[in-house]
Symmetry: C2
Subunit: 481 residues, 2 copies
């Protein structure tokens, strides 16, 4: 096997998804393994994706009046225990600090799996009257959940990066009104930046965040037919404010508990995005998030070398500051090797430039997503590159949306649900009566679960496959990471 | 005592510095205590300072060709032990994870006190040839050092946020050439954004970072006469590359160890900045870093209220998008109470606007730093505000530079050094022969230490106060946090 083919992806997306996915992440230099199992090293290309997601999301949070903060990594055990369901949900996954230097510490400290308990203990000191509300806080940080299930590279890691938004309101109405704003931001980010479609809906009680009253999520579909939860928003009601004493004096002078919400988007999205878009030749990264958006590859022979390189540097000047561009002028690699390398790494657009192009005052643009090639005038280079990048961004979303539509199926009975899920996978639309017993039955029979329940739907005029009663909704059902 | 005076600072900077400093941070709502001692909660106003420092620093790193990454929080004990001096320096301060969920884990995991050992283990896999170098990586993250000394609010916290830059080069010359670039960036950020002067120099061997060959720092002076280390840059030579096997094939086909550097700026700078600039009325925050740069306070009486507020909203439109501005239209507080509150919080510029101003088509600008007031035409509002903010930024740096110059003293004998330090404090310029014994003697006699040794100096033609030999340099000496 030649060096080039060893460097490339040695399996196919449609044949061995898990192995393909891991190879893409590693060989495209997106991320690497850490010596601690389940923890991820983000290399420059991978971290740039996160920085871009973060910047765009943060901009929208700030426009919405949300302020960034930082709360510490450590949560004393007694605080984590203050909200009963919350600690029950997270205790099995907590990493505990018990020693510092060579001493044992008095009270174990949890590495935050999420910051509700610490934040609310502190924030309760900041709120006195209705005038202090709403208070909408966010932090971008790292959290640790030591899951006993096998971690999956980026998709399910023991440490991950995320935003955790935490807001407090005087009334339930105001708190509820935040839902569409936050989920709207996440929808915009996932669709317009990650080029990732998903199904928005409400989680069932069984799948609701530990301590919350209601959880809403965007659910994605991976190419292996499994679903995976994307960004979410939780309505906490007064659960935490009662546990942590977050009390304010309302306009009539009476003490009230605040209403709270929380929400998050995490680095998991990077894994989902790469799994959905990439192909057998390597990573495909949407232009808006790519570390390198354009690679300029001069095609030279001995006699043209100097002139072509000189001209290529002028092309770079036209692109610099407008696009994240690299000029690949390495002279020990053939153009073919360079093409392979940048395709593997997922750079959205390649600009080829050789002696003939120089004469014609043109370049050749090659798209990473389709492999499509076309010539473009040097004089119009920036516009043409911008157009092509926009087209790639839109096309990736279209392709992913088509795949989601194709991967969304129907079932109306338990055997049908089981058969569809085991033979085809995907997200299955199933009628449901709303009873937890029927949810549990569907789960047991199929190994899948209710991902979420689409909002604002009319009853589907169908029977629940669990009990035969009238269904109240169609739900999104699937096997999930 | 009235509510207003309780809310304000109840001690003086010049009388009880420690208490004053803590009150400023807490009452200006910059930061708060965490339930875990020595950990800091950054509130929106405090975290915005860090975001602004981070954004400006990161921009310059990227322009220099440095790429951001993320390496995990956990370092297995065996890795931390790979570089002998490094582990010796950090082991006493490490927070150890020993349990996850209800299980004991096999190998203790260190919460990173700094990431050399983990990064270099991983990065050694990424480097094969001289073509892979230089590799210049950075991360913005949280680190934990469980110092046994008493933690000091923000200035010395057990968890802090920082950048850790890590670069690898093929030759010592290239590695050394990075020093002035990085320290130049830090100098620009501290001076032009934090308005903080400092003394640049090289640490002595005794004060060098654990595992490094040379440490260079910027040293600040606090108003209590103690020095505190600011951003730093370390030359590691081949110490870590030898311990972690970071080997590359050079252009002659021979194996070589890489040369490495590391560098950092941390949230400690926020504390230094506030301590230096703030006054007895509360925080003073340099305009370039302030969460709120301008507060617009309408001055209304019952009859003018509606007209003034309407006009104030138009003024807001002129300022919005150009400056981070708040319109304080709360109607339950007097203008005087509002002035006190925004002064306490350190907002650089207040714009007052009342019925008479409306008639005159003017506003009154009030500077937080000097209290200086002047009228400005509404038609020129943006320009006038910009001018005033620039002037405040420059004036804070000037004032801090004057204080540093005034706080810098000379001493040529041990008794003199001791007397100056104990009676006046500050940073003392002392001749030194370069011998560790004399450094140790000066430390023992005075309780201070050599902060750093200014670069590019000629021998001072003076005697070392330790041994009486010819001095080779003047050093910056002081008591330090």
């Amino acid at each position: 096997m030649s060096k080039a083919s060893q460097d490339g992806i040695t399996t196919k997306k449609g044949e061995n998804f898990d192995e393909w996915y891991t190879q893409v992440i590693l060989k495209a230099e997106i991320a690497d393994y850490s010596p601690v199992s389940g923890c991820v090293v983000y290399r420059p290309s991978g971290y740039a994706i996160w920085e871009n997601i973060q910047r765009e999301t943060d901009l929208r949070f700030k426009e919405a009046g949300i302020s960034n903060t930082y709360f510490p990594l450590f949560i004393p055990e007694r605080l984590l225990k203050k909200e009963a369901e919350h600690v029950e949900g997270f205790a099995p996954e907590v990493a505990w600090v018990t020693q510092t230097g060579s001493s044992k510490i008095e009270e174990r400290l949890a590495i935050r799996p999420t910051s509700e308990s610490l934040m609310y203990e502190v924030v309760s000191r900041w709120i006195r009257s209705w005038r202090d509300l709403p208070m909408r806080l966010n932090q971008w940080n790292n959290v640790v959940r030591w899951e006993t299930k096998n971690p999956t590279f980026i998709l399910r890691s023991r440490e991950f990066l995320w935003n955790e938004g935490h807001s407090l309101f005087a009334t339930r109405e105001e708190a509820d009104a935040e839902r569409d704003q936050i989920l709207g931001i996440y929808k915009e980010i996932t669709e317009e930046y990650l080029a990732l479609p998903g199904y928005l809906g409400k989680k069932t009680k069984a799948e609701t965040f530990a301590g919350a009253e209601g959880t809403y999520s965007i659910e994605h579909l991976l190419p292996d037919g499994k679903a995976i939860q994307g960004p979410d928003w939780h309505s906490d009601g007064q659960n935490f404010s009662k546990a942590f004493g977050i009390v304010f004096i309302d306009q009539r002078g009476e003490k009230q508990f605040a209403y709270q919400n929380t929400w998050a988007i995490s680095t998991r999205e990077i894994g989902v995005m790469l799994a959905v878009h990439s192909d057998d030749r390597g990573a495909i990264i949407p232009p808006k998030l790519a570390f390198v958006q354009v690679v300029l590859v001069p095609i030279v022979n001995d006699e043209s070398k100097q002139a072509v390189l000189e001209e290529a540097r002028k092309l770079m000047e036209r692109l610099r500051g407008k696009f994240r561009t690299v000029l690949d002028d390495r002279d020990h690699l053939t153009p073919g090797r360079k093409f392979n390398e940048w395709e593997l790494k997922g750079v959205p657009l390649r600009v080829e430039f050789g002696p003939r192009d120089m004469k014609e005052k043109q370049v050749v643009l090659v798209r990473r997503d389709t492999g499509g090639k076309r010539a473009a005038k040097v004089a119009e280079l920036s516009d043409e590159v911008a157009k092509e990048l926009d087209s790639i961004q839109a096309s990736l979303f279209k392709r992913a949306s088509d795949a989601l539509a194709k991967g969304t199926r129907d079932a109306s009975t338990l055997p049908e649900l089981k058969r569809v899920l085991s033979q085809q996978g995907g997200i299955v639309r199933v009628p449901w009566c709303g009873k937890p017993e029927c949810e549990a039955k569907m789960r047991e029979v199929t190994g899948g679960k209710i991902l979420n329940v689409p909002l604002d739907q009319k009853p589907p005029k169908a029977k629940c496959p669990g009990c035969g009663d009238e269904a109240v909704s169609l739900v999104n059902f699937g096997k999930s990471y």
